[in-house]
């Protein structure tokens, strides 16, 4: 699972790659967190359930990442990894592993405001799956 940053005039995007769709969604969540904050010092102390719905795979991805953003900014959690248990074009469930956020150990990099549908893409290639997501920052 890897990701790279995509250029955008004002905001920021990423392209994530993974062998399977559940791993792709976990990788996208990881990319979002790593854009928002330093993640080198996060202890895997607790597991936090994550769930989202949608009317297509694309909207499930946006809503899943919006859930991650809520845990980060609303619940103030620092997350170091993600597991996806179930994924369909209507629903996703999984968990984030991490701990309550301590800004002195996990300083912010960029405040991510939202996950957009702009040029959103989920597709298959020779290596597996990839997605492209743009964030409002």
């Amino acid at each position: 699972m890897t990701y790279e940053i995509l250029e955008h005039a004002a905001d920021i995007g990423f392209r994530a790659h993974a062998p399977s769709l559940p791993e792709l969604f976990a990788c996208a969540a990881q990319a979002l967190v790593e854009i928002a904050m330093e993640t080198a010092d996060i202890e895997p102390r607790s597991s936090y359930p994550l769930e989202a719905q949608g009317e297509s795979l694309e909207s499930v991805l946006v809503n899943w990442l919006s859930e991650v953003l809520y845990l980060l900014d609303g619940r103030r959690l620092a997350m170091r990894s993600f597991r996806v248990r179930e994924l369909t074009p209507a629903r996703i469930s999984g968990e984030a592993i991490g701990e309550p956020r301590d800004p002195s150990r996990q300083p912010a990099k960029l405040v991510v405001k939202g996950v957009t549908y702009y040029q959103l893409k989920i597709a298959q290639d020779q290596q597996g799956w990839f997605c492209e997501v743009f964030l409002d920052v």
């Binding site: 920021i12 909207s59 946006v62 980060l72 609303g74 800004p103 990099k109 960029l110 743009f134």
Partner: protein
Amino acid sequence: MELEAIDRFRYCIPQDAARGMRTEVLVFASPALVEQIRKDKSLDQAVNVAMLPGIVGPSLAMPDIHQGYGFPIGGVAATDWNTGVVSPGGVGFDINCGVRLMRVSLGADEARARMRELLNQVFRDVPCGTGGEGPIDLKLEELEEVLVRGAQWAVAQGFGEAADVEFAEERGALPDADPAKVSARAKERGRRQLGTIGSGNHFLEIQYVEQIHDAEAARAMGIERDQVMVLVHCGSRGLGHQVCTDFLAQMGEAMKKYEITLPDRQLACVPIQSEEGQAYLAAMRAAANFAWANRQAILHFLREAFRRIFGPQLRIDLVYDVCHNIAKREHHRRNGDPADVLVHRKGATRAFPPGHPELPEAYRPIGQPVLIPGSMGTASWVLVGAEGSMRESFGSVCHGAGRLMSRTAAKKGRQAHEVKKQLEEQGILVRSETKDGILEEIPEAYKNVDEVIEVVHSAGLARKVARLRPMGVIKG
């Protein structure tokens, strides 16, 4: 994209340029700015906006237009209040992101002599809050009051002076905000973030007045040459971001219900008069009020910080507060007929002309102050709205210099300490909470703000009043 020149400052994309356009696109720009605008996808986005059901007049692009998501940033679209749509993407995630300008009873030299000490004090007292928390911990009942009363709540709690609200757009609170339409999650995100700046392009700048272009307007605003000013740029923080997220999530189903199809899901919209449209507007107004309370609390912390350095007699007064991400019901005229419209301003500032009844009495003879931040190394501008804005742009102008370079490109090959040093050599001290905050916002990442201002001034949308230069910058 085919762009036809109308005159030196106006370009048009005709209605037949793309299938589905319901109106033309009118671009305010100079030939040099047009070349820069063509480099990203902002004109395609302005064309997509022209497809919104019920759009009245052209899809408008300001000279600072650049690529956003859905709407371009620097875009304005008015939709018919009875038959048109509201698009949360036409407001954006940062509902009521805006700018607040204060004048300080201090000369530039006095401030410059103690700038490092002052900047450090302000950095301590006015939090960026990028870790998700600020100094104010609101109980749910208090937060709900903030959502209804905006800046007026903040002043009533002691975060400011009574006169502050007189000089904010809408007196710092939009009516008809409904906290019940704001989700528990949005409230959770906002509860600890009041009084914080955020990150990205948000900032607090200590500036001085470098040039006065309109003495009468400057006098009405209490602005003198070499006077210290403070400009704050921020919005509704996590609360507003979550409101946008919540409603975008519902829009897919709602668009099917109302049989609306658009080329970009981020443009998602529903009829203004639908249940979903009214719910969004009630929640958006609540988030807008949170943003005004946020900027008001920041003004309070700023006063405390300055007075710690310069003594309790120091005056800091609000010149004006404008929002540049909002949708508001306004009454305009199109071709001589009254137009009852919802004006979406996505990275665009209201610019009402002299005599407009919604202006504070002190500004009615000169027009509404329009505050245009540049980049941290160049300049910011104070303008006033002019008559042309009501004829051509639904009382709107640009909101900034407009981004030219991506964040990744801005960081490439540069070190934060070098950028800081270069700015220091120009007399500008910078402090940032995040490592990349300085690099991503380098002056070269932005268009030339003077050229953007020249367009709106020459096109008759607004008039130049003063040019402000930064001395101390705080970035999130």
